[in-house]
């Protein structure tokens, strides 16, 4: 009789452990998906801000047409790839970041522009959006790390493999230092 109770006890403990671990994994996976969606939100916000920015600076930066065009082109390319595969998209987004950084750096040479309230507000919005993009990537990667750790480490890996849990994929950063405010001047 005692043996039966012991067995029932062990099974119950295993079951509770299984449920708790599984729920933990699901929570992490949802967190991961949410983090991924967050990146999208911020990227879209950037697409929306760029036309405004171009409109504002156009009048001041008559001799920087190439820079402006590069930004517009990069933006349109990135937007068109938004639903495409992750690799191509992140490359296009990286190029957009680079083009924007160049534009903001060049803007430093135009005192009139820097006195324009509208431009200053846009600059703050863009800086912040760039930050939000990298922070949401960072959080996404932190979440991937947590999920992968849990899915690969004993004993939770047993539950993960039983339920066929997929590992998260790290977001590779294509631009070296994009979170830093652009300070370089390109001459």
């Amino acid at each position: 009789m005692v043996a039966v109770y012991i067995i029932i006890g062990i099974v119950a403990i295993l079951l509770i452990f299984f449920i708790a671990t599984y729920n933990g994994l699901i929570r992490l996976r949802n967190q991961l998906r949410n983090a991924w969606a967050q990146i999208d939100v911020q990227l879209k916000r950037r697409y929306d801000l760029i036309p405004n920015l171009i409109e504002t600076v156009k009048g001041y930066m008559k001799y920087e047409r190439a820079t402006l065009e590069a930004v517009t082109k990069a933006r349109n390319l990135a937007q068109s790839l938004a639903s495409g595969d992750v690799g191509a998209r992140s490359k296009a987004e990286g190029e957009l970041s680079g083009a924007l950084a160049r534009l903001l750096a060049v803007a430093e040479n135009y005192p009139d522009l820097k006195a324009n309230q509208n431009f200053l507000a846009l600059q703050e919005e863009l800086t912040s959006t760039e930050n939000k993009i990298s922070f949401s990537r960072q959080y996404y990667n932190d979440s991937v790390l947590k999920l992968n750790n849990k899915a690969q480490m004993f004993p939770s890996n047993v539950v993960a493999s039983m339920t066929g849990f997929k590992l998260g994929e790290f977001f590779e950063v294509t631009i070296a230092e994009e979170r830093e405010a652009p300070k370089v001047d390109l001459t």
Binding site: Q31, Q42, E124, E125, N131, F135, Q138, Y139, D142, A181
Partner: protein
């Protein structure tokens, strides 16, 4: 890296439990003395504590914000601040955007409120807002957001309530004891309990004196731990420890005092809001670790993860060769108490000036137990020298004289 947060939380829980036991002991012995029933005292202590906890839990943020005269702002009022808060919200993975408040005060400080992450708010003084650049602001907001994320706000509020209860109980008990003593020993004529009575009285008095002090020491210990943890998390979120470090530097250079802070709310601020006029903030911290120490740790970080912070922290704690001798003597132990006597705000009951003396003696005792040597400088400053301090002389950070150890 997440394990460290958890380990720290366990320690906080242990310390909090210690405080709870202290409260119950105090209630028990006071009950035993005043109503000859320990359980009665226990129940009274619990009721007082429970009521205060309820108020703190449900109305704490509102009271705090109202007392500090903070006004809520929207995105349009200050887009940059709003953006920075949102950035840190994203970086920390907080689900709901916290409310943002500004206190119009030239003092430099910030704090977080909210019993849970869904009801959280971040408050910053207009002085600090004006003084910081974007990166520094990010560091400070990251620090506050991690207080929310790590649920420090609730923990510290509950600890503050417990501390308050202990102080109130001890204070009233002292009063009653004093007056009944004046009235000619009502108790001794009545029951005449003999030895048992005397022992209970002795324990009761001892607890009345020691409990508030001990509770405060525990409270400060918890608070300091949470501060370090929040610094570490801020560095993790921003991946830029220098931002917070230079913000702290700016704050420590300022001497303006926040008018609307009070004793109980002190641990919620980024830096201790009670700094004596004209004295740099780094010297008089008890609820907060010394700012210089925090800056040094942040600057010593080789990466931005929590383990990097931990490494830097241990390095700073180990202290050989990193800090100049004077700094070592000043705050040799991470989270070490201020060199000078505890600041006045650490004394909730101002009517008893001898309490300051008692608190000093107690803390001296604690330091001695940890093998700290005490060197008396001729200028009146007491230097506490950590056991691993190897040199034979130490410079007094107050007057600059050299003393032999």
């Amino acid at each position: 890296m997440w394990e460290q947060i958890r380990a720290n939380q366990t320690r906080s829980v242990v310390l909090t439990a210690g405080m709870g036991i202290l409260l119950l002991l105090l209630g028990y012995f006071l009950g035993l003395y005043f109503f000859e029933s320990g359980i009665g005292g226990l129940i009274i202590a619990l009721i007082v504590w429970g009521l205060m906890s309820l108020v703190a839990y449900f109305q704490g943020d509102n009271i705090l914000l109202a007392v500090s005269r903070a006004r809520k702002i929207s995105r349009d009022d200050h887009p940059q601040l709003y953006n920075v808060v949102e950035e840190m919200k994203i970086a920390s993975g907080l689900e709901k955007m916290p409310d943002i408040y500004i206190i119009d005060d030239p003092a430099l400080n910030a704090f977080a409120t909210g019993r849970n992450p869904d009801k959280a708010a971040v408050t910053i003084t207009s002085g600090l807002l004006a003084k910081l650049n974007r990166d520094e602001l990010q560091g400070v907001i990251g620090h506050e957001i991690s207080h929310i994320k790590n649920r420090d706000v609730l923990l510290m509020a509950m600890c503050a309530v417990m501390l308050g209860t202990i102080v109130i109980l001890a204070w009233y008990a002292t009063r009653v004891l004093f007056f009944s003593g004046m009235a000619g020993g009502r108790r001794s004529s009545g029951s005449g309990g003999g030895q048992g009575q005397i022992i209970i009285l002795a324990v009761g008095i001892l607890l009345m004196i020691l409990a508030p002090i001990a509770a405060q020491l525990i409270y400060f210990a918890i608070s300091r731990k949470r501060e370090y943890l929040a610094d570490a998390s801020s560095a993790l979120y921003t991946r830029y420890p220098e931002g917070l470090a230079s913000a702290l530097e700016k704050i420590s250079a300022s001497t303006a005092q926040l008018k609307s802070a009070n004793q109980a709310t002190a641990p919620m601020y980024t830096v201790n809001p009670f700094r004596k006029e004209g004295k740099p903030a780094s010297n008089l911290t008890s609820t907060h670790p010394p700012i210089s120490e925090r800056i040094r740790i942040l600057r010593a970080m080789s990466g931005a993860s929590l383990s990097d912070y931990d490494q830097a922290y241990q390095q700073a704690k180990g202290g050989t060769g990193i800090a100049p001798a004077s700094a070592l003597a000043l705050d040799g132990l991470a989270g070490g108490a201020a060199l000078r006597a505890p600041s006045p705000e650490a004394k909730p009951v101002e009517e008893f000036p001898q309490k300051v003396e008692r608190a000093r003696e107690t803390s001296d005792l604690m330091w001695r137990l940890n093998d700290y040597k005490t060197v008396n400088c001729t200028c009146g400053t007491k230097l506490r020298v950590p056991p691993r301090f190897k040199e034979s002389t130490v410079r007094c950070p107050h007057c600059g004289r050299t003393n032999s150890v």
